[in-house]
Symmetry: C2
Subunit: 191 residues, 2 copies
């Protein structure tokens, strides 16, 4: 669907990558020349990207942690706490505080699992879904604007690039996570 999985363009050895300042890594593992520009672009781009959402979030007294929780709960209705923890890569205690706030302020609701009653399955309330959508919207606008300025094939390549930047071990999990539209209740695979 989103074809982020394609791999290994033939890529004649020593050919491609003409425009990059950085060549292949030599024996000592330290590349001869370093892509300073790409690094700095990543830094500035990501910072401005997250700033859009941050602005909206502060109106509600929330931070980035709330955003992430809200996002993944909205995207995975009925997700259990454990799975959310493994997606976010944080500890129970860190999640606890922000999740409690989101529940107390009626952005997220918890329902006991119908099969396993130990679980507190998480769902966004209408209010929570609305905020999640608005957060997506402000960030989408920046994304759309950026892609609107460059070649049409860019979005495919950027997707492939981002996917390849993820740790190889977690790529299959991420692929499963993002390549689904909506499933009301999430199966409990290790995220």
């Amino acid at each position: 669907m989103t074809d982020i999985n394609l791999k290994k363009q033939p890529a004649a050895p020593g050919s491609g990558e003409v425009d990059r300042r950085t060549a292949d890594a030599p024996e000592d593992g330290i590349p001869r020349d370093l892509p300073y520009d790409m690094m700095e672009l990543l830094f500035f781009a990501y910072r401005d990207f997250t700033a859009d959402a941050d602005e909206l979030l502060t109106e509600f007294g929330f931070g980035r942690a709330h955003h992430r929780v809200l996002h993944f709960v909205d995207r995975n209705p009925g997700i259990m706490v454990t799975d959310l923890l493994s997606i976010l890569g944080i500890t129970k205690q860190s999640l606890g505080r922000v999740l409690k706030q989101l529940v107390d302020l009626d952005f997220i609701e918890q329902q006991p699992g119908p099969i396993d009653r130990r679980q507190r399955l998480l769902y966004t309330t209408p209010k929570g879904h609305d905020l999640a959508t608005r957060l997506m919207a402000v960030q989408t606008i920046r994304l759309e604007r950026a892609f609107g300025e460059i070649a049409p094939e860019a979005s495919t390549l950027v997707r492939q690039f981002l996917f390849q930047m993820i740790n190889a071990e977690t790529r299959p999990d991420v692929a499963r996570l993002i390549n689904k539209k909506y499933r009301p209740v999430m199966p409990a695979g290790r995220f």
Copy 2:
């Protein structure tokens, strides 16, 4: 050189962007469909990207704040504190702590400005330059590996994409900042 500035591919209205799930924003400003996959890829990719450096940094008892300071000082030898602050977008107090540590531990040294003696121009020491280089190296490896898996033209498009993601007002500043190789002493423009 790195041609991130090119703009406005002709892009016949309504044509391009075939593979994106997201269409243009309608009147209410909220896009009809939202690029969840791209958002999540950005999150996971950036997280893993920064994790490489974090690992190295903790060996020295440093955090991400130290990384950023070290990086921009190494890249802009002789930079003054004010310019560093405006690049990083943080306050004097936040910088103060990490900068002091970097100076005390001999990763960065300060020299009074030869013309304006109010300034404390910043330089990395050999030790500091070495760490900065190693940090670049670990992150470069991930970057190279990612680009090695996808089409050769990807790096150009990714650069363009990242550049367009930056706030329009700061793009010229960023372009100046990244498009220079090495100038021993930095002119003091508003970053």
